[in-house]
Symmetry: C2
Subunit: 297 residues, 2 copies
């Protein structure tokens, strides 16, 4: 590394994985890396481990001599950090970076999507949520976790598919292509095997079934359509609520955005635009407070 | 205790609590006792502890001199024991009883409800499930746990009420008496506080909100009615599926049976009869294999 040069790392820590992006002071991409889940509300120690691992991998991949974490400014966007006590607990950990700024995964996604400018985002990935930032005012909604929230997300689609499959195995719903596809995907033959898998399953596991549900909906399988339409109805509600804030742009982000899009309200489809930058890039923006207005920090 | 006399204990181990009933050989009730949850799939060590605790309490309460667990025949009906691996794991534990016979909580509830005769039961408590026993043939359905099953149960009602309340806090549903009642009951003012409570919450916690939902449905609160009607639709499906087996009796058991009953299909309401004996009494029947035909064992 050149003496005096500055390095920045952006971390996008979600329920499924933790991504890191390393840049130099001129905004040149040096490397990217991925590690395990980093939801601090769900698993604090695991999240801390994933953040360090992704960061160290990124530094190794960059092959910049003598570069180490203590020479890098970090911007962290983390799932679950919106809970005040969780954030306080996270900040108690000593960090290995030259500087560290911490916010939510939603916030960095929104900063990235609109290059730090005003706008709104809807996340439809393992979880679901929305955020608008208008004249420094943050309006966050949805999320709330796999058990009581995150409706319409990949994990929710998978959960609904398994619940439906169990009803067919109980003989209170008719077996169909969806239930057969779930059993095939999970290599199960009966309810016992299926329930056993769910006992310790995390949201990321349920989300692995989402593409299957969306694919069958595309093929007009009626039960898959029913589940996807209920998901879309919720995502529509999130989106319309954000549009009340009159954001100049609305971006959709997350693993199932693309196959979900055709099920959304035509008005939402027409407005939706692609994110300009990734959440990790948004996290790098966030690591440079001098670039952001006070309220965005 | 009289030398040569026999004692029997019936254990009903559920997700919320573990009940014990002690009888002498003539079927006289000697004592009853309660301990913590005993779902062996969810928490094996906790369940074993609750079973021993409830049993020892019952013996102490009976005040029969020199009576100890190793002099008592036990019949155990346990939530979660239907999973084959879980049952095998449970049976590896050495037990303190003179004899021990283990089956599901559903099975002992059905034995109790019909005094060991043919019949069907529907459980609507913390969880939901159904069982018919007809000419020694067991037909079990529903259950499957809080995440992907147990629809229509007390825990499910509570979960739906919280999910709805979060939508009102997000401004994507209109605040109403139900959302206000949930916030009041849980002493929350915002989504952060509400989500924090759910992070580690067990089904039994969610089920504490069920009476509130049912009460508001009774008072014609529209969202409470919508949730309760979806619950009732599922319980109807379970019930009609069991009626296909032509059980001579159909009994409803569980904490929210009574307030749920008026929402069920009139045909189901007309057929539903009270359980003759408690699940714990069913467990005592089960502890006496000589009283049961081979297939019922």
């Amino acid at each position: 590394m050149n003496k005096g040069s500055e390095y920045f790392i952006g971390i996008d820590g979600g329920g499924t994985k933790c991504k890191a992006r390393l840049e130099d002071a001129n905004g040149n991409l040096l490397s990217e890396a991925v590690a395990g889940p980093a939801n601090v509300a769900r698993d604090m120690q695991g999240a801390v481990k994933s953040i360090i691992e992704a960061s160290q991998k990124a530094i190794e991949c960059s092959k910049i001599k003598h570069l180490s974490l203590d020479k890098v400014h970090a911007g962290l966007g983390l799932a679950g950090i919106n809970l005040p006590n969780t954030k306080a607990q996270f900040l108690k950990h000593s960090h290995p970076f030259k500087s560290q700024r911490v916010t939510t995964d939603l916030h960095i996604a929104c900063l990235g999507a609109h290059e730090g400018n005003d706008g709104a985002i809807v996340i439809v990935g393992t979880g679901s949520s929305g955020l608008s930032i208008i004249q420094h005012r943050h309006h966050e909604l949805g999320g709330h976790g796999f058990v009581v929230g995150d409706k319409g997300s990949g994990a929710w689609l998978g959960k609904m598919a398994i619940a439906h499959c169990l009803e067919t195995l109980d003989g209170i719903a008719t077996a169909n292509e969806l239930s057969a596809a779930v059993l095939r995907a999970l290599e199960c033959e009966n309810a016992y095997q299926l329930v056993k898998i769910t006992l310790e399953a995390k949201p990321a596991f349920y989300a692995t079934l989402a593409p299957l549900v969306l694919q069958l909906a595309k093929q007009n399988q009626s039960q898959a359509i029913a589940i996807v339409e209920e998901a879309a109805a919720y995502i529509n509600k999130l989106s319309f609520r954000l549009l009340e804030d009159s954001p100049p742009r609305l971006s959709f982000i997350g693993g199932i955005t693309e196959p979900m899009m055709c099920h959304l309200d035509p008005h939402i489809q027409a407005l939706a635009c692609k994110p300009k930058l990734s959440p990790e890039s948004g996290a790098i923006l966030y690591s440079k407070p001098q670039l952001l207005t006070r309220e965005c920090q």
